[in-house]
Symmetry: C2
Subunit: 411 residues, 2 copies
């Protein structure tokens, strides 16, 4: 019988964290990074680590690290984040953080002595409130000082000010960086935040990498005119141009994309946005993702061609701004194989898959071989109060994290 | 040499009215119906009528009527409205109102004695601030008392309160109604508000009717989800459904519509309207118009079919609310023939055409045979500060109104 986590204890931790950041009258969890609630969540987690006999500390950018001083050599790090999006769910972050602590508790109770130190980590600022992933970027030496200086949230609050208000020291971020070779491996357990595992009836997904992502803001400009007096063939209808482009999305994916390509038009703003007026301007987002940067480039190129074509057909001007271009990240293949093998030994219905969302593991991969375990999200829903993962799935994910840590710590 | 209007005098009137409702720092004209500026415009117009020797009066709903007591029998009415949309243009309304007064001045100066009385009319509340055309509806006995009671503008101001504040008496609207047979004919000169005349190099359009119009609010509901983690084939993307429908608009018109069909998606609101989230809800307007109600019905039916199809294809729920269904109105064919003949006698490049926009003439047609003359709108632009009609076109339109009145008044 393999070693197993104590689901009741893990569940109690996850449910306790869900009480921190609950606002009366709002269904979601609110621990935006560097808020008082976020810090309260971290302090609660430090206390839980101390109860387990670890010596937790918070670094100058807010990462909580609780080290089990055992064995020798570079440590295995395991964990996830504790901050949430506004009105977020219960599992996104706390699952992986609490499961890492639970893995240590189980090993300790079972009298297992790993060959390497284990560090339980609760990273800071993963959810992108300020546009980055400061906690894991600081750990891996990937902070851009210029960004740190100017970063603000959607309300204009400066990252710098938010951190100072919590007693943190953003200017000291270089102290946090771990030298290359100083970490043996990083493991993260996370909810999938998508419907793939649930739809396929699978229990565990081992991530092979994280999709790259381009983010465009496109403006099509035509002529706003009276909807009754302007014949169809004399229109320069910005929305008709957008619809023509949007109608080509399946063809773009079929022609130059692949199974992992995602193209999303999530935000659309028309002007004047009045029923009786032909739209003179359409501003919209295009988010393109793929696990291959070559495919991303081909999809982006095809989008440009189709936008040009829609503009020619509808007599529109095109303005395209690339907000960001993030290359795909491959996670460590050997660790993925280890996790897959451990999952199969535990009897879980397992697949490998790319991650469509960003995670700390992709940042940590720059420092150390990293692995990422997914458990199913009901309905694929995340970043919302309805986010849910059944407890048996939580248990399977935590068991795999435990056995992954043990496999790596005894290598 | 046919009788001609005095363009300088007409232009001075139109330009004087454009000074009333000008707000510092805003380029457009603002005389929304029953505002102080609207009433000031009407009082200025009454004074100009009085200077011409007419006896103007304002009725209880705000219509200004200046009667030239001459000849016998039912009068010829001629005019247009004086209220404007917010930030509207110079010509929409004042052109036809001032040209009717100018026609009377020219006839008087030329010593012409019409066989019938002439009434110059400046109707109230044509632009639909409160959702109707109260002035001409009251004159023609088409006011719905329930609507009058509850009508509000976009800011929630009650029509009733706005009228009372100006000393008008909405409850006395029945006094304004003219009995059937008491008006010989109604003539209106208006800018086209569309690009058809300009594009065709024509000078005068004689309207044969006014298109009918249906106004739908459609809501497609899918599932908002993470744009990175949700594969394309597992999405319920409300915007993709809208785009699929919008892409079918040309086919709908080709299949069941005609040359006069207009289908416009002018207003689109997505939720949550966030770049990284698949749209869970798309709410949008469909405005459909045609000169044939049978075609309108076929187009509406085809829209429903295509919406159903888009919802099936994208796994969406459909909610469709019909805000209004206005049947097309045919204007008087004999008057249109008279206007066309007079225009050709004056040497103007003339066409007949339907009107895509609503006008007082369509309401007046319920009471008396009515005619509607169009002059070109530069770029088809209207309801905007850029609305423009060159003075030679204004002159031609006013000359045709003059000769139309003379032709009808001597019948």
């Amino acid at each position: 019988m393999p070693l197993m986590v104590d689901l009741d204890r893990l569940r109690a931790d996850i449910e306790a964290l869900a009480m921190i950041g609950t606002i009366s009258g709002r269904p979601g969890i609110n621990r935006p990074s560097f808020s008082a609630e976020d810090m309260a969540g971290r302090r609660w987690f430090m206390a839980r680590c101390a109860e387990a006999g670890l010596s937790p500390s918070m670094d100058v950018v807010g990462n909580v690290i609780a080290r089990w001083e055992v064995g020798s050599g570079p440590p295995i790090m395991a964990g996830s984040h504790l901050d949430t999006v506004p009105d977020g769910g219960v599992y996104d972050g706390p699952l992986g953080t609490c499961a890492a602590l639970e893995a240590v508790r189980v090993m300790q109770a079972a009298g297992i002595t790993p060959a390497r130190p284990i560090e339980v980590v609760a990273t800071a600022d993963e959810e992108g409130r300020f546009g980055g992933m400061l906690g894991s970027q600081a750990l891996t030496g990937q902070v851009d000082p210029a960004w740190l200086e100017r970063a603000t949230d959607a309300e204009g609050v400066r990252l710098w000010d938010a951190m100072r208000a919590q007693g943190l020291a953003p200017e000291r971020f270089p102290e946090v960086a771990r030298p290359p070779g100083s970490v043996e491996a990083f493991l993260e357990l996370h909810i999938e935040q998508g419907p793939v595992l649930e739809q396929a009836g699978l229990e565990i997904g081992v991530a092979t990498g994280v999709s790259g992502c381009f983010n465009w803001t496109v403006t099509l400009t035509g002529v706003a005119n009276h909807s009754g007096t302007t014949p169809m063939h004399l229109r320069h209808d910005a929305f008709a141009g957008l619809a023509a482009f949007a109608g080509r999305v399946p063809a773009i994916i079929e022609d130059v994309g692949g199974e992992q390509t995602r193209l999303t038009i999530g935000k659309v703003d028309l002007a004047p946005n009045f029923p009786h007026t032909i739209p003179g301007r359409a501003t919209f987002s295009i988010i393109g993702r793929d696990t291959s940067e070559a495919v991303m480039r081909a999809v982006a190129e095809a989008c440009r061609r189709e936008l040009d074509q829609a503009c020619r057909a509808h007599g529109l001007d095109l303005e395209l701004r690339e907000e960001s271009w993030l290359a795909p990240v491959s996670l460590d293949a050997a660790i993925a194989r280890t996790l897959e093998a451990e999952s199969q030994k535990l009897g879980y219905r397992t697949t490998t898959m790319p991650s469509g969302a960003g995670h700390d593991a992709q940042t940590m991969q720059h420092l150390a071989p990293s692995g990422l375990i997914f458990v199913p999200s009901v309905g694929g829903i995340s970043h919302a109060p309805e986010e849910h993962t059944p407890w048996p799935d939580v248990e399977r994910g935590a068991n795999l994290l435990l056995h992954g840590i043990m496999a790596l710590a005894t290598r």
